[in-house]
């Protein structure tokens, strides 16, 4: 027997960080929710919806759930390996490094430093820091596994390993960019390819950050709390491998009916459908583990949280594949339906599993009973009601708006040609959803109080003594022989890691390589030219202000969209878009064909006060764009970086870029002058107008051509 100590302090630290960041992230969520209902809440340039929404998503995903993962992994891994974490120093670097990354996100996102790629908004220096801290995590994890006193790796650890590897691959591939300056970079990929990489990343961030580590945690904390054996070992094997292999292919379902090649879209649909059973494998293994413990579910808040978490997981993973069917997606995509869907997963599965875990952990870390079971039960009901109040109104809103966009009247005209009408219809739902968020958050405050009182009543067992026999060499170990065929790989973390890598590499490779290499996947259009320098600056302002959080640039090939916006978007139009700005949600109308639709003065007035041009609009005003002088100093560097990435600016254009921008700006200002508007040509608004007026104008399809296409 060997004696050693589990490190409980690091678990406690990650747990505390989980709670604090959870409250911050959800509070920002409540703020952005109400900003949609009451646009006057967008008070400063740092707290507009466009800048805060990425902060909300980053905070709840990487800060709340991220710290939740590390809490669960650091507690369970030590016990499943019968070993202390590999290195206390690495644990500390991991902890503080991760918190610093989040703090840098909290600072940089409101300042407008963003790549605009969803859940990957942080700029390149922070991306590098994430990579380093992630390596520290992996090093610490594999080090602990290497020093384990338990021959076989339990299913939880398979999920942890798959998580570590896949998140590393996703993060590195999707963040590839060339820096322009300290906090600005351009994506290595353009247009369709960027979109494919981004949603391969975005979808699998859901899979490997929000799902697989939490399944691992479920496999540890659920049988622990229920004191029941896991239902089926064989089921855990098949659903683990099937899940990680199939998940990675499903990314393109975020891009149905876009300019992504049809074959890639179809793969996304097919694999999404095949994902139902592997996901449900996790759900049924969880729920069936509770057989014989259901009487305790009635009284034990930890188990209540787990049951709702697993049920929410089951619902979200069935709904996801349904949304991936093209006919459902045609209605749901770009609406609040998707927002409701992801929150069932986030609030139900991730939130409730985290809460259950923390309520289970705290009494054990502090060696005292939970301060109040009653408060925990109240938290449970507040949270459950919060989820319902959040999700149901948004399902209603999404379905309503999706149908309104598509509705034609008897004369063959759009029933609701004014986009704003479809928004105002659902604003009451935005209030309800905000209230759902408040309910949910108030529960988390109760939990914070409850955990604080529990900690106060007890003392932290920072180093928990444990004993286990040393591991014999494999040849002498009677446990190392025979059994189920899968036992072989459970003894070999390296082979397991390689197997997982192969499983997750195939889908991404099959979808990405042809899209990058085969020309016919992105047919070029001769009329499409690179952005002029002023337009480029305007585009970067569009990114900075987070416009793509509410506006798409992807007219889908539906009559209801081409009637509303104009010709549908073609793959070849985006070849100079770094990053792509297709967006994923239409809180405002699509902007891909907005160029040359309105006069410059319309945009000028609209950005100053959206309600002046669209009475009732919920878009916030952007008055600072009218005061800020456009920073042109970065232009030469930007041009050079884009040239390196393949944008065909003529050689030496970097030296002409500033002059070109000034010429174009004077033109825009002069045009505004003819419409009775006096503006200095060096203001940011001028660049933004230049960009908006350029959007989608490279291919002007004449009415006759449209008719010809239709007749084919």
């Amino acid at each position: 027997m060997e004696s050693f100590f589990y490190d409980n302090k690091i678990v406690r630290d990650f747990g505390v960080a989980t709670v604090i960041w959870g409250i911050i992230g959800m509070l920002v969520g409540v703020i952005v929710a109400f900003e949609l209902a009451r646009p006057e809440l967008n008070v400063t340039r740092y707290t507009t919806f466009g800048r805060l929404r990425p902060l909300h998503t980053n905070a709840v995903i990487f800060a709340f759930v991220g710290n939740g993962i590390f809490t669960g992994v650091y507690y369970s891994l030590q016990r499943l390996c019968k070993a202390r974490m590999f290195s206390d120093v690495l644990s500390k670097i991991h902890f503080w490094g991760w918190q610093l990354i989040i703090v840098s996100a909290v600072i940089s996102l409101p300042l407008g430093y963003t790549t605009s790629k969803e859940y990957a908004e942080l700029e390149w220096p922070i991306d590098i820091a994430i990579t380093l801290v992630w390596v520290v995590f992996g090093w610490n994890m594999f080090g602990t596994i290497a020093r384990r006193r338990e021959r076989h790796l339990y299913v939880a650890i398979w999920f942890y390993i798959a998580t570590f590897i896949t998140v590393a691959v996703l993060h590195i591939v999707n963040s590839m960019a060339l820096p322009v300056s300290f906090m600005k970079s351009y994506s290595m990929y353009a247009g369709v390819q960027d979109a494919l990489v981004q949603w391969w990343y975005g979808h699998n961030a859901v899979a490997f950050f929000l799902t697989t580590p939490y399944l691992g945690m479920m496999y540890y904390f659920l049988p622990k709390a229920a004191e029941r054996p896991v239902y089926s070992y064989r089921l855990s094997i098949i659903h683990f491998w099937a899940l990680i292999f199939i998940y990675i292919w499903a990314g393109p379902h975020h891009l149905l009916y876009t300019a992504l090649p049809d074959w890639a879209q179809s793969l996304g649909v097919a694999f999404s459908i095949m994902l139902i059973a592997p996901s449900w494998g996790g759900m049924i293994n969880g729920l069936l583990t509770l057989r014989g413990a259901w009487d305790r579910v009635r009284t034990e808040p930890v188990l209540k949280f787990f049951v709702v978490a697993i049920t929410a997981y089951g619902m979200a993973t069935f709904e996801g594949p349904m949304l991936a069917l093209k006919n459902v997606n045609a209605i749901a995509h770009f609406t609040d339906w998707i927002v409701a869907h992801v929150h069932v997963g986030a609030l139900g599965w991730n939130g409730f599993l985290t809460f259950g875990m923390l309520y289970w952990l705290w009494p054990r870390l502090y060696r005292t009973p939970l301060f109040s079971k009653k408060l925990a039960n109240t938290h449970f009901w507040l949270g459950t009601l919060g989820i319902l109040f959040y999700a149901l109104p948004l399902y209603w809103a999404g379905f309503t708006q999706g149908l309104m966009w598509k509705q034609f009247n008897a004369e063959g005209m759009l029933q609701y040609p004014n986009f704003l009408e479809t928004v105002l219809q659902i604003v009451p739902m935005y209030y309800l959803r905000g209230m759902g968020g408040v309910l949910y958050l108030s529960g988390v405050f109760l939990m914070m109080y409850n955990l604080y009182q529990t900690a106060k009543a007890g003392t932290l067992l920072a180093n928990e003594p444990a004993q286990a026999p040393a591991l014999l060499p494999e040849a002498q170990d009677p446990h190392a022989q025979g059994g189920h065929w899968h036992r072989w790989i459970e003894r070999r973390p390296f082979q397991l890691a390689v197997g997982a890598t192969v499983a997750i590499a195939i889908g991404g490779a099959v979808e990405m390589i042809p899209t990058f290499l085969v020309k016919s996947n992105v047919p070029t259009i001769a009329a499409v030219h690179p952005y002029r320098p002023l337009e480029l600056q305007g585009r970067d302002l569009y990114i900075k202000e987070g416009c793509s959080n509410c506006h798409t640039q992807m007219v889908r090939p539906f009559r209801s969209e081409t009637e509303r916006y104009g010709e549908y978007s073609k793959a070849g139009e985006f070849v100079y878009d770094r990053p792509f700005l297709w967006g994923s949600k239409r809180t405002g109308p699509d902007l891909h064909r907005v160029g040359a639709k309105y006069p410059n003065s319309w945009h000028y007035n609209h950005m100053m006060d959206p309600t002046s041009m669209s009475p009732g609009s919920i878009m916030p005003p952007y008055p600072w764009l009218f005061d800020n002088q456009l920073d042109k100093s970065t232009l030469p560097a930007k041009i050079r970086v884009l040239q390196k990435l393949g944008t065909p600016y003529p050689a030496g254009f970097d030296r002409l870029a500033v002059a070109d921008a000034e010429t174009q700006a004077r033109g825009v200002a002069a045009a505004l002058k003819t419409e009775d508007i006096d503006v200095k040509s060096d203001r940011e608004i001028v660049a933004l107008i230049a960009y908006l007026q350029r959007l989608g104008t490279d291919i002007k399809v004449k009415p006759a051509q449209v008719a010809a296409t239709a007749a084919q």
Binding site: Y231, S266, A270, I276, A596, D676, A707, A710
Partner: protein
């Protein structure tokens, strides 16, 4: 047993009834014929649903009546555990076939006090998984190997072709000269006014005094001041200068109403008028006032 079957059939009926092919036949034949076609289709479908339901009820009754005999048959050693006996097992309600064998044998290992059973994969899950794999393979085959299904380009073309049936012949030619006369009935002008308030006021001002768009109350016109000029400008827009094309958003009648309303504002001298733009031209002013 009966309810889901009924719902399924009803859903099938709705799907059939809304199929574009049927809708098209209905559109091309006379309205009366279309009505009778629909009546016939509905009659046939309802009969089908009814007959199906009767059969289902009879079937369920038969099975429950024969259950003891079926169970005996199912339990015969020569029948039990054969592949084909599964249907029989489902009919007599053998839960094992859906849930799998639940032996609850604990495996010989212990992870920090956690044990694992080695229960069967539930057959409903296994077969569900198999079904989705078959679905996925068929899906890809249907669209990309057999190339039977419409991909998004073809789907769009078909949708537009069908929509083209709505457009009257020659109705979409910007060069066609219209010969409308400005409307003067108060009802027309008042609906023109509300159309103006929702769609035009943002750019032309609440009183048409001009903001982003030109003043519509003076005698100066950029694109002609007759009701037919206005109608054309409203319908097709002025590309690149900010006047949006309203065809597809407003009906012909609505466009004529709002054009007439705008002309009725001639000489109304609103506050803060925008400087005149374009040519001076006497407008064809409607006579009646609101």
């Amino acid at each position: 047993m009966i309810r889901p079957g009924h719902a399924l059939l009803a859903a099938g009926a709705v799907l059939l009834a809304t199929r574009p092919a049927l809708a098209q036949t209905a559109a091309t034949s006379t309205p009366a014929a279309a009505d009778s076609t629909y009546a016939l289709v509905w009659f046939l479908l309802s009969t089908l649903v009814l007959v199906g339901m009767v059969f289902l009820v009879l079937f369920v009754a038969l099975i429950s009546w024969m259950r003891p005999q079926l169970r005996q048959l199912y339990n015969l050693p020569t029948v039990h555990d054969t592949w084909s006996s599964r249907v029989l097992g489902l009919l007599v309600g053998d839960a094992r076939l859906v849930q799998g064998e639940v032996r609850d044998e604990v495996l010989n290992h212990d992870y920090d006090g956690i044990h694992e059973f080695d229960n069967d994969l539930p057959p409903w899950w296994k077969w569900g998984f198999a079904f989705t794999v078959v679905f996925a393979l068929s899906y890809v085959t249907y669209y990309h190997v057999a190339r039977k299904g419409q991909l998004q380009g073809a789907e769009y073309a078909a949708e537009m072709q069908q929509a083209a049936l709505f457009v009257p012949v020659g109705g979409d030619d910007p060069n066609q000269v219209t010969t409308y006369v400005a409307l003067t009935a108060p009802a027309d002008l008042s609906s023109g006014k509300s159309i103006f308030a929702t769609n035009c006021a943002a750019c032309h001002g609440a009183n048409a005094e001009g903001k982003v768009g030109p003043n519509l109350t003076d005698e100066f016109w950029l694109h002609g001041g007759t009701v037919n000029n206005l109608y054309k400008t409203i319908k097709f827009g002025i590309n690149g200068k900010g006047m949006v094309a309203w065809k597809g958003k407003l009906s012909g009648k609505q466009m004529l109403q709002v054009a007439s309303y705008a002309l009725s504002l001639q000489g109304s001298k609103p506050a803060n008028p925008k400087t005149p733009q374009g040519e001076k031209e006497a407008a064809s002013k409607p006579v009646a006032k609101l």
